[in-house]
């Protein structure tokens, strides 16, 4: 009997340790979908990089509708995934509810910084700084003096993109006119390329010749329409310069991939708290490669780089829309 107990005990311990050792990370993508060429795809690339470098495996889930959020989160946590990473502010409230039920599971959430729980890591980006840089480039590249901004879902985070962009445009060309549109007020606005394309055509008819899309999968339509209409566009989150070479002026990089990679690498050792990935930390920036080399002149790049240095040193402070819900350069 004692032998039996011992064997069982050892087996149980083994099973437990094995369980911990195989705890694989998991990632949940938001409604734009894993292949939105933008925000979620950046997260996917980070996870893939981790998998390739470590040889590890991870679980993944794509949201299909709003109702799945809590269920998906619980299912992954119950299955023993650790840490669970999720992309997007929309998970904030759900996570606040779910996290206390799984005290031993670490959660990492991107684009959220208002939660306070011992097992949640939050990663926020200073999108207004990156948007300011591409805004400057838009202001310098525009010939008509009118530039456009197309946001996805109308939320403070996207207004932060728009506001930073507007400040950059005005910094480069104080007389510039900025046309702002939001795709919608529901999460479906992240994946509506048809509407994105129509909005872009509408902005072109209002004179815009550079359009910045901060709209997840909707941006695919914006960039397409801009290429069709022969005007310039600016991509977001991932490097989208290669989608329409010669038409995408640049892309505002938001290194979601690094955030996911770091979270996966730290694994269960994730520290709670808020990490801010700003310009100085390389969290945001703008993309230059062979696809847009002919569109960006040396002077433009020098001006933008100079502004970037000033932002890093604190000489230029880009107003953050989310700090007080107002924007000095644009009205939403």
């Amino acid at each position: 009997m004692t032998l039996m107990k011992k064997v069982l005990g050892t087996a149980a311990t083994l099973a437990l340790t094995a369980g911990v050792a195989t705890a694989e990370p998991a990632i949940i993508f938001d409604l734009g979908g894993k292949f939105d060429k933008s925000f979620n795809e950046a997260a996917f690339n980070g996870a893939e990089r981790w998998a390739q470098e470590t040889g590890g495996t991870y679980k993944e889930l794509e949201m299909q509708d709003e109702a799945q959020r809590e269920q998906a989160l619980r299912r992954l946590a119950e299955a023993g995934s650790n840490p669970v990473v999720m992309t997007g502010f929309a998970f904030g409230d759900v996570l606040a509810k779910v996290a206390p039920d799984f005290p031993d599971t670490k959660f990492a959430i991107i684009d959220v910084d208002w939660l306070d729980q011992p097992n949640i890591t939050q990663i926020a980006f200073t999108e207004h700084e990156g948007s300011y840089l591409v805004g400057m480039m838009a202001g310098l590249a525009s010939k008509t003096g009118t530039v456009g901004f197309i946001g996805g879902m109308d939320i403070p985070l996207i207004r932060r993109f728009g506001c930073g962009y507007a400040q950059g445009v005005v910094a480069a060309n104080p007389d510039a006119k900025i046309v702002l549109n939001m795709t919608g007020t529901t999460p479906a606005a992240w994946n509506d390329p048809v509407k994105g394309a129509e909005l872009a055509k509408g902005q072109k008819s209002q004179g815009a010749d550079v359009i910045y899309a901060a709209a997840g999968g909707t941006g695919v339509g914006v960039l397409q329409a801009a290429a069709d209409e022969g005007i310039l566009s600016i991509g977001v989150d991932s490097n989208q310069n290669g989608m329409h070479p010669g038409s995408v002026l640049t892309s505002m990089l938001k290194r979601v991939d690094n955030a996911v990679y770091d979270a996966f690498t730290k694994g269960t050792a994730l520290e709670p708290g808020v990490t801010v990935m700003d310009l100085a930390a390389g969290g945001v920036g703008y993309a230059m490669d062979e696809n847009n080399a002919s569109l960006v002149t040396a002077e433009m790049q020098a001006a933008v780089d100079a502004a970037a240095e000033k932002i890093k040193s604190g000489e230029i402070v880009v107003h953050d829309y989310m700090s007080d819900d107002t924007c000095p350069a644009a009205t939403f």
């Binding site: 979908g33 390329p193 048809v194 394309a197 909005l199 509408g202 008819s205 999968g217 397409q224």
Partner: protein, 322 residues
């Protein structure tokens, strides 16, 4: 609102009304023959996926167009089989096909391209490009009408003009041909048609096939002209708006044109909240504009704007003998 803004709105209207018009006329043939078709949406979606995939793989938009029509015809055939041959419930069959299309399109596109159910972007000959109508530039200087012709009428992909031509053609077929007379009769009183020695089943299958072809054109237009590729659920409820337009138009082809243009205009307005605000001096919520087509349809159905009477035998499977 200045004239240039109005022209731009009308230009968008025409672009957005085209898929509605194709789908609305598609529904018209089917429903006039007594087969309710709530599956317009699913057929459009299937056609959009098939046309974008084939256009990308072959590099030819015409191959894509044919594939789109074929895919839509397959769904139409299933609907016909279920509701004509097996006398099933037409609404249930239509709804089921919508669900099937919603899932299958993403599945096939994912299997083919592995891009999350999206097809790769189409370029060059794999897309319908805009056509500039003759004299568009020369006539631009003519006051009022010149810009209207150059900005709104000219400069659309071929399928937009095909859709517009389908309206008189449908009118002619329905009201001036023997086939049209029989088609309408089979939707009102199939027993009388049968007594005259004409096949009810054959006529209804013909109508359903025309519906399939027109939905195929609608889907192909969405994926290869309006957009450059297929994306999950890209038809975004246009099949249902087309049904609403069909009721609004009281099942008549010319009225269908105006209904679709009106609903297209609402969609165009929803894209320009700034213009709406400038005209009515009040900030109108965009979802309200999105909902307007449905609100109008309910008003029509409730009898506030004339009376909408569907074909009498609509929705009823025809049983020869009891």
């Amino acid at each position: 609102m200045d004239y240039a803004t109005l022209l731009q709105l009308l230009d968008t209207t025409l672009r957005l009304a085209t898929p509605l018009l194709f789908a609305c006329l598609a529904g018209l043939y089917s429903e006039r023959a007594g087969i309710f078709d709530i599956g317009l949406e699913g057929k459009m979606l299937m056609a959009a996926m098939a046309s974008a995939s084939v256009a990308f793989l072959t590099g030819s938009v015409w191959a894509g167009l044919l594939a789109g029509m074929a895919a839509s015809l397959v769904l139409a055939g299933i609907h016909g089989l279920a509701s004509i041959t097996f006398r099933g419930n037409q609404l249930i069959s239509g709804v089921a096909l919508n669900f099937v299309a919603s899932g299958v399109t993403v599945l096939i596109a994912q299997r083919l391209f592995g891009q999350g159910g999206r097809t790769p972007p189409l370029a060059g000959d794999a897309r319908f490009s805009a056509i500039t109508l003759p004299f568009a530039e020369e006539l631009r200087g003519v006051p009022v009408l010149g810009p209207l012709y150059a900005e709104v009428i000219s400069g659309h992909p071929l399928l937009v003009y095909v859709a517009l031509l389908m309206v008189p053609l449908t009118w002619w077929v329905l009201y001036r041909t023997r086939f049209g007379l029989r088609l309408r009769a089979v939707g009102e009183n199939p027993a009388a048609v049968d007594t005259a020695g004409i096949s009810v089943v054959g006529l209804r299958f013909a109508a359903v096939a025309i519906t399939g072809i027109l939905c195929g054109l609608a889907g192909a237009y969405m994926a290869t002209a309006l957009q450059a590729g297929f994306g999950r659920e890209m038809t975004a409820g246009r099949g249902y708006i087309a049904l609403a337009a069909l009721i609004f138009a009281k099942w008549r082809p010319v009225a269908a044109l105006w209904a679709c243009l009106l609903f297209g205009f609402f969609q165009a307005l929803a894209l320009r909240p700034d213009v709406v605000e400038a005209v009515v001096q009040v900030k109108v919520p965009v979802p309200f504009l999105d909902a307007l087509p449905y609100v109008l349809t309910v008003l029509v159905l409730a009898g506030f704007v004339g009376k909408a009477i569907p074909p009498r035998a609509g929705g009823e499977p025809y049983v020869k003998e009891r």
